[in-house]
Symmetry: C2
Subunit: 247 residues, 2 copies
């Protein structure tokens, strides 16, 4: 049996009970080394098989082979197992022979939103700025479409060593789409891990922000406000009593 497990941000408290129980039960844990190391702290006595970034296919094939050989294998993904996770690739690679189970987890869009307040309280779009597997032109088209639809936008992979300027380029596309410079935005760094930090800012500020691969970015819709230190998108409950809302 192969189970693809979304582990949430990484601490046990952010895992679902069934994810935790699956990791406790399995023979072998497979994953990208950064995520596997988060799990190793909790389950130090398991067998681990880890590979670096760009070795996703090899990692999934190894997990499938082990499961086909009769072992209980858990393939761990940070956040959710499906959202930019390995569930898709495993479904593509696995034949009918492999018994597969997919356990969802709390994806960074949701765990980061909880740190900021409630930016995702209304319709939203999730876009990865990584052009490792997606042409940059398609990422640009999606940014423009999300702005046109007035979605709250959550950005994954806003930067990495090879692409430090992707967030600035994304902000420029949003500004060119007519989004105002003082649109409320937010960032969360190291969600649910040591050194977690958050910041609410404007789109102009976000354009200058130095993100890295552990940053999740939120760009508000027209219904998003700063309330104290929080970033909140109103769902439009019409009966909110006047005077109780700060914005």
């Amino acid at each position: 049996m192969l189970t693809i497990v979304g582990i949430g941000p990484g601490e046990p408290g952010g895992m679902t009970l069934e994810a935790y129980q699956c990791l406790e039960r399995c023979d072998c844990i497979v994953g990208y080394h950064v995520y596997a190391d988060l799990v190793r702290v909790i389950f130090p006595d398991k067998e681990y098989y880890t590979t670096p970034m760009t070795q996703e296919v090899e990692r999934c094939l190894w997990a499938i082979e082990q499961a086909d050989a009769g072992r209980e294998v858990a393939l761990v993904c940070s956040g959710d197992s499906g959202v930019y996770g390995m569930a898709g690739l495993v479904c593509e690679l696995a034949g009918d022979r492999t018994a597969l189970e997919i356990l969802p987890g709390v994806t960074a869009a949701c765990s980061g939103a909880a740190v900021l307040g409630a930016p995702l309280a209304h319709d939203f779009a999730v876009i990865s700025l990584s052009d490792r597997l997606t042409p940059w032109e398609q990422i640009e088209r999606r940014l423009a479409a999300a702005a046109a639809g007035d979605f709250v936008i959550c950005l994954y992979n806003p930067a990495s060593k090879g692409r430090p300027d992707h967030l600035r380029r994304a902000c420029d596309i949003l500004l060119a789409s007519g989004m105002e410079e003082d649109r409320i935005c937010g960032v969360v760094h190291n969600i649910g891990r040591e050194g977690q930090s958050r910041q609410v800012m404007t789109l102009a500020g976000l354009r200058e922000y130095e993100a890295d691969m552990f940053t999740t970015v939120y760009i508000g819709s027209r219904m998003t406000r700063r309330i104290g230190e929080r970033m909140v998108t109103s769902r439009g409950y019409r009966k909110v009593p006047a005077g109780r809302c700060e914005n």
Copy 2:
């Protein structure tokens, strides 16, 4: 202290450990009666305060008042606490006096996706078809924008008693936007609860599907395929060995 808790689909296994511990610890559990009843099965001896749909403001104000009076209150939301949940409304209603914590949960987009396979493996948009708090014209604009951006689309609240034809109208907008009739779509009913079911179908089939308020709907992007019984969006790993992928 007031904690807004995303409980996931409803079974304890789908809750995070910290959500479970919060419910175990609190004095009083507040929620929409359908979700509170899911929790009551697990924690039958707690005090409960429930209100029906449309009573969200009253429910949140009651929770805030109890917390301000010094009680440990958990306000439960199905799925995530932020995604169409109560976190936003509480942030709007609570003053500086209230100590607030927001615990995220597995939202239906992710838990339903895990049942179908991996439809959300690439960029996606989440749209609610409920026009209770959002003008229908805005929902139409977002559907058209999501189609233009070639997002995978996940629909919440595809139908209810008062609006049985919203899903059909949404499909018509997508078709009018140029989406092909055989675009791969999927539905999951009663995610993570008794009687859970799933179905992979085309957009033409989805147009005829009778959804209810316990259905979550997925409309694939151009990169979405049916693989066996599963709905999978390819992230485009270029090194997938030929012959190992069924589509």
